[in-house]
């Protein structure tokens, strides 16, 4: 009897001691933070990771530099003009170098409008200068180069003013009337829409790359713990749920951080190029993109963690992760090729919505409320996947003999 009492006293005093330890470390109460910190720390000193990141940054800088060099180049434009427009067209050709040192204009004389149209469609001319209903019109095939437009506008205004002044007895208003230049394109694509689409593609590519790279890293670190059996020790220390949460959050932080770094670098670079003017119009869409990426990656990271847990050795990972790589590929191609109603529907479908909804915002086809609805659906799906992943992860983590199917893992008793 006396020993039992002693034991209790002993235990009480030790518990008291433990309570008196100063709470120096938050991670004691949040083991997931400890796990996440290890994920970050091991990755941030990993040479492959650092070299890969630096290499990608170098590629982005190189791309921007090439763009800037291209935009500095002198551009030669052929402008088609019928005899009626020849005088003005010649004036454009003559004055172009003094108005914009990056622009040289030469005139291709054509006999009539039909010939001009044909020259433009056959790519023999870059633009067609003509007069319609008393207005000068500069027509491009699929776009009117902005620098050519600026040069031509100035020349047209000056020339028209001179002509109007020579016709005596008119007011200044009359002189300026009809001197405005309007542009038009034959095939309906404006430069800004091109830019938005290029941007959307770049983001889709980043999304795909980042999901694969960090997903593989996460799955690899899960299987490393299984293969090295250290998971059995960890499972006696903290809840498996905390381990999963720490790994998913650590890798999500890395992925989003890297993505933000690339995006920022790309944007700063773009602001030095001729696309700089479009940036303010896409900054809102980019913000949405980061929010959707964060939630979408959280969902996808859980899938990767399960893929890792279903494998017993690194070699198994190839096959257990195939469904996810297929899914990501489908999302990537979906974002590149879907449009219209199909694009609208898929932009609500998680996890594809993580990419397609921000794309629609970027392209300006989404109503203001649409991203909120899609985000709510994505969040709900992420929560459901996290719960299911936790069960699969917990049950397959200690099965170290061979590969598990999803169904086996679901039914395995703990």
């Amino acid at each position: 009897m006396s020993t039992t009492t002693e034991q209790h006293q002993d235990q009480d005093s030790r518990e008291r001691d433990r309570r008196e330890e100063p709470p120096t470390d938050d991670t004691l109460r949040h083991p997931w933070a400890l796990v996440a910190r290890r994920e970050l720390a091991t990755k941030l000193v990993d040479r492959t990771f650092l070299v890969g990141t630096l290499l990608t940054m170098a590629m982005i800088v190189a791309f921007v530099v090439v763009q800037a060099v291209l935009s500095d180049r002198v551009k030669d434009y052929d402008v088609a003009a019928t005899p009626a427009a020849a005088t003005v067209a010649d004036a454009v050709a003559q004055r172009a170098p003094s108005l914009d040192d990056g622009v040289r204009v030469s005139v291709s004389p054509v006999t009539d409008d039909a010939a001009a149209d044909a020259a433009l469609r056959d790519d023999k001319a870059d633009a067609w200068l003509t007069q319609r209903d008393g207005n000068w019109v500069l027509i491009g095939r699929d776009e009117v180069p902005s620098d050519l437009e600026a040069v031509t506008a100035t020349v047209v205004r000056d020339t028209t003013l001179a002509q109007n002044a020579s016709a005596a007895g008119t007011s200044v208003a009359a002189i300026t009337s009809g001197s405005e230049l309007k542009t038009d394109v034959l095939v309906g694509n404006a430069e800004q829409r091109n830019f938005a689409q290029g941007m959307a593609f770049a983001l889709a590519f980043l999304f795909y790359l980042s999901s694969i790279i960090f997903g593989m890293t996460l799955a690899g670190s899960v299987v490393e713990e299984k293969q090295s059996r250290i998971v059995e020790i960890i499972a006696t220390k903290i809840q498996v749920r905390q381990l999963l949460a720490g790994k998913v959050l650590g890798n999500t932080a890395l992925a989003v951080g890297q993505m933000a770094l690339y995006a920022a670098l790309g944007l700063i670079g773009l602001s030095f190029t001729s696309f700089g003017g479009f940036l303010p119009s896409v900054s809102g869409a980019l913000g949405w993109f980061l929010v959707f990426f964060l939630v979408g990656f959280l969902l996808i990271a859980c899938l990767w963690a399960v893929a890792g847990a279903l494998a017993s050795r690194t070699e198994d990972l190839q096959s257990t992760s195939t469904p996810i790589t297929m899914l990501l590929l489908a999302i990537f191609f979906g974002s590149a090729f879907l449009d219209g109603t199909a694009q609208t529907i898929v932009s609500y479908l998680p996890p594809a919505s993580a990419l397609l909804m921000p794309q629609r915002i970027l392209e300006g086809t989404a109503q203001w409320w649409e991203p909120f609805v899609a985000l709510a659906i994505l969040l709900a799906a992420a929560a459901a996947v996290i719960l299911a992943a936790e069960r699969l992860y917990r049950r397959s983590l200690l099965q170290t003999s061979g590969r598990l199917s999803m169904r086996q893992a679901w039914a395995t008793p703990e």
Partner: protein, 295 residues
């Protein structure tokens, strides 16, 4: 001081009953050996004690109340299959595990340095685990189990793969921990080692406890045997009542007592017949007890 206890612990895999109603007690201040053949259920039992596997039935107690995850966090555990992060540095990894066991970061760092020193691994603190020799990896594994001053130790085959010097070092560590009042449960195939080290013993066969107690009591409960060596032939012992003659060879015989007191009859008879060189009680070795209870 704490005490680990299991009551009616059972676990079935498919249609195999791996562990079947195991009751065992691991008392503080001593080493408890856990022996049994392959597939006897030792690892499954230890995994259930550590909460890695959920029992189908039965319970695990710590100081008489159901064991919690918080209790187990402070335990030291060495699973049957060893492993650490191969690419992480020794000190970083041990620090991480100590923190997972509930130590604050600063205290963990101090404990890592102390233990590396004690196991003469200080110079390898910054080395990746995969670059260490197998023996050193084993030492790191032991440190991982001891680092956070565990309140109990549960070690699955801690001696397997160790060279004789390392076996002695490991034995010292376990005795030291036990002397500090920590209950220690370890499994082993090496019966001589268990006999030498353990204060008490649990023998498992086909998922059940077939024998339990201190080494002395187990051996004493074995059959009472005597060895007789005389100058002449001892064939006559076969006719003595209350004695079963096991092994008679010329002047020596191994006798098993059936009726207490019969050994005195044998001795008197032997002295009358001629010189007696030897008459001793034979305490059977643990391995023999083990064979008997697991048969």
């Amino acid at each position: 001081m704490g005490q680990i206890e299991t009551r009616g612990l059972s676990r079935t895999f498919g249609d195999v009953r791996a562990v079947d109603g195991v009751d065992l007690v691991v008392r503080p201040g001593g080493l408890t050996g856990f022996v049994g053949g392959n597939g006897a259920g030792k690892t499954t039992t230890m995994r259930m004690v550590m909460g890695v596997l959920r029992p189908d039935a039965g319970e695990v107690l710590w100081n008489g109340r159901p064991m919690t995850a918080a209790d187990r966090q402070r335990f030291g555990y060495m699973p049957e299959e060893r492993g650490l992060y191969p690419k992480q540095k020794v000190a970083d990894q041990l620090g991480y595990l100590a923190q997972l066991s509930g130590m604050p970061r600063a205290a963990a760092r101090v404990a890592v340095a102390e233990h590396l020193e004690r196991f003469s691994l200080s110079d390898r603190a910054g080395a990746r685990v995969e670059s260490l020799s197998l023996g050193n990896q084993q030492r790191v594994q032991i440190i991982a189990a001891l680092l956070h001053e565990p309140t109990a130790l549960v070690l699955d085959e801690p001696f397997s793969g160790l060279d004789p010097a390392a076996v002695d070092a490991m034995a010292d560590v376990l005795r030291d921990r036990a002397a500090a009042g920590v209950p220690v449960l370890f499994s082993s195939h090496q019966l001589d080692l268990v006999e030498r080290l353990c204060d008490s013993l649990v023998v498992l066969a086909r998922g059940r406890v077939v024998a339990e107690g201190t080494v002395e009591s187990l051996r004493a409960h074995g059959p009472a045997r005597y060895r007789l060596a005389t100058g002449g032939d001892v064939g006559w012992v076969r006719d003595v009542r209350g004695i079963h003659a096991h092994d008679v060879d010329g002047g020596t015989a191994l006798l098993e007592l059936v009726e207490p007191g019969a050994e005195q009859v044998v001795l008197r008879e032997a002295v009358q017949r001629g010189p007696v060189h030897e008459f001793t009680r034979v305490i059977p070795p643990l391995s023999e007890i083990y064979r008997e209870v697991t048969a």
